[in-house]
Symmetry: C2
Subunit: 404 residues, 2 copies
């Protein structure tokens, strides 16, 4: 007898047949005596269709009207899901974001949840109804429809779980959970049973994206334990929660590879205070996400600055840096076919030798290391893209992550 | 400088190109200095698609969830229409029924408008915005999404026109207005410039359906003058308003024909108080709309009762009457291929001889009259379906309705 929040993504509710399957799954939980609040996304493809219609009118539709438009996708799914539950004898009531009292700020298309008044939802829940809640949307203090941006439905689920003090929060996706490595590359990869918020965040930023970071950060902030699992089977998934002492026994939780990187090198940059700031301000203004940064102070008053960025953003980065280099001197060059390989684990905080093990296993595989960067629970190296898969397998074995 | 409410139906906003055309039309009015409130329907076909999806889950989806589902159609159109206006430089804001404060009762799928709190809408309107309002939908006192049933968008337009005391209300459809007869049958039919609410209602119930009667009744009750016109050209349409003295100069406003009728005859029904009531209660319970009713009291304590009904409802009517006839005696027979022909005009109240002229013109055309029924401003006869077109032309000419 628990209060359970479940979230189903666009693929899980992609058509009427899948919606019926989701309804059966919800029913099986309710038959076990649980109170259910279910967050659903728009059917996969619907949001893109709506965007395409708006962009057929004008390339830059207003954000207020885009929110009014996009909220339609989830509103359709909640009604169909509630109907599917009623059809198999389960009382269900659908809620739009506004009806559920999900109050946001007024930043259209990327609103932040401010508070949730779940009074009415709780009343309907306690009366024995399954609540079907539209993900991704809310209402501003002025009564406008708002949407939460990418990953918004996960955020809705975690926020409502926090608001109603749910006992469990399950995020259903098309993967079985979080793995020690990408199973398509590393055949011996295992599903991780439990992972800390910080490890999940670091794995995501290292290229293993199961969820948007903002949802994980929100869960961490409000201490919402959640499980990532598949809607296509009944296998247990991965539980994401606050770090506990036992987690530190595992030195490395997982290995992540991002093969879609390029390296940008600026040579002979004027070596004076503010140079680096100007470079990265220009990149930030162009909305380019820069990851590894290495600077070698040179002689003769010049320095070399290197960073990695997604491969498809390098030309944009080069353009953005032109005026800066005109001012500071220096020349720019880039190299594609670069991969990032990261090992992540809260155990690193208390175990030494992780870097040594990593570097040794790469050396044993004949993989040359280019850049190195570290955080408290992550070590990342950049290597040649062609060697990335082989390196991931070697590192996975070296840290004892292979299946028993 | 007037406040104008316009309503565009599903065909007028059927795709992105048509929505852009509607935006251009709205702009032309605004450029003339008018304040514009525009009610739009769902794109044609969308509502049926949504219903089909729900019915693929269950044949009887709950009405509460159907309202949540169907409201999606108009919500998409309002956003796209607002975006199309903004794209041509016109400030526009979309409103769902709930956002516009259209408060209804809680009779899902057929809600009645209770009141409209247009405060916020008026503020946005006075600030120079075009308001795009979702037709067909409202909000119940409990905050539920409601829809108004068939013809609901017309009703939304007339209700908002009343609430904001609009100077004009234009209902755009795919016809040019109300005609003296169906132009496909009577080539000499003319567009009617002005018509009274009562004439419009009688023409509709006689088979010339341009709008649902409830919208016309609402307009009559709240004295909202409106114009029915085409969104595909700039021709003036037909103005519908309260009867004025000059209207009575025209004895017959129009001729309507409904060719899709059947006649049902019950013979040897027990002639005692309550017999007819039982017959028509059984028909009403089966939701069969009965029109002309004629009873001849016979001898020997039995009577004959005749009525007309839509042809496709005769077998349902026969089934519904079986238990009644078992109780009261009598036998039932039906005749299809029946047409109703009606002449309508407020002038009838003050002119005599309308019936004589009607019957004479039918006699001259060799058309036999079966049943006759009359109201204060309408005379209806039932005739053979095969003679209906010819009869309509003869009667149209006899009452001087042909084009000059």
């Amino acid at each position: 007898m628990a209060i359970i929040v479940q979230k189903y993504g666009g693929t899980s509710v992609g058509d009427v047949e899948r919606i019926k399957k989701v309804a059966e799954r919800i029913k099986s939980y309710r038959d076990d005596g649980h109170q259910m609040v279910v967050v659903v996304s728009a059917r996969s493809g619907v949001t893109n269709e709506l965007i395409a219609r708006a962009e057929a009118i004008t390339p830059l539709p207003s954000e207020r009207e885009m929110d009014q438009l996009l909220a339609v996708g989830e509103q359709e799914t909640i009604a169909l899901t509630a109907i599917a539950l009623q059809a198999i004898g389960v009382p269900a009531i659908s809620y739009t974001g506004a009806q559920a009292g999900i109050l946001t700020d007024k930043a259209h298309t990327k609103a932040r949840i401010h508070s949730i008044d779940a009074t009415r939802l709780k009343t309907d829940l306690n009366a024995g109804n399954v609540i079907i809640l539209a993900g991704f949307q809310g209402i501003s203090p002025e009564g406008q429809t708002t949407t939460l941006g990418r990953g918004g439905s996960d955020l809705s689920a975690i926020a409502i779980a926090s608001a109603i003090k749910a006992d469990k929060c399950e995020i259903y996706t098309d993967v079985d959970g979080v793995y020690t490595a990408d199973p398509r590359i590393v055949k011996t990869a295992r599903k991780i049973e439990e992972i800390s918020y910080d490890e999940m965040l670091e794995l995501a930023s290292a290229g293993s994206k199961v969820m948007q970071n903002r949802s994980v950060e929100f869960a961490k902030k409000y201490d919402v334990v959640f499980e990532v699992r598949s809607s296509f089977n009944y296998n247990p998934g991965t539980i994401v929660k606050e770090e506990v002492a036992s987690m530190e026994k595992v030195v490395v939780r997982g290995v992540a590879v991002d093969k879609n990187q390029s390296k940008v090198v600026i040579t002979n940059l004027a070596d004076k205070p503010g140079s680096a700031a100007k470079v990265f301000r220009a990149l930030a203004d162009a909305h380019i996400v820069v990851d590894m940064i290495v600077q070698n102070a040179g002689s003769n008053g010049v320095a070399n600055l290197t960073f990695t960025a997604p491969a498809n953003e390098v030309s944009k980065a080069t353009r953005a840096l032109e005026p800066v280099l005109k001012e500071l001197g220096g020349s720019i060059s880039s190299q594609d076919q670069v991969a990032k390989l990261s090992v992540v684990g809260v155990g690193m905080k208390t175990h030494s030798g992780v870097a040594a093990t990593l570097f040794q296993s790469l050396a044993d595989s004949g993989v040359n290391i280019d850049l190195i960067s570290t955080s408290e629970i992550k070590i990342t190296v950049s290597i040649a893209q062609a060697k990335a898969d082989e390196a991931a397998r070697a590192v996975h074995t070296a840290f004892g992550l292979d299946k028993a």
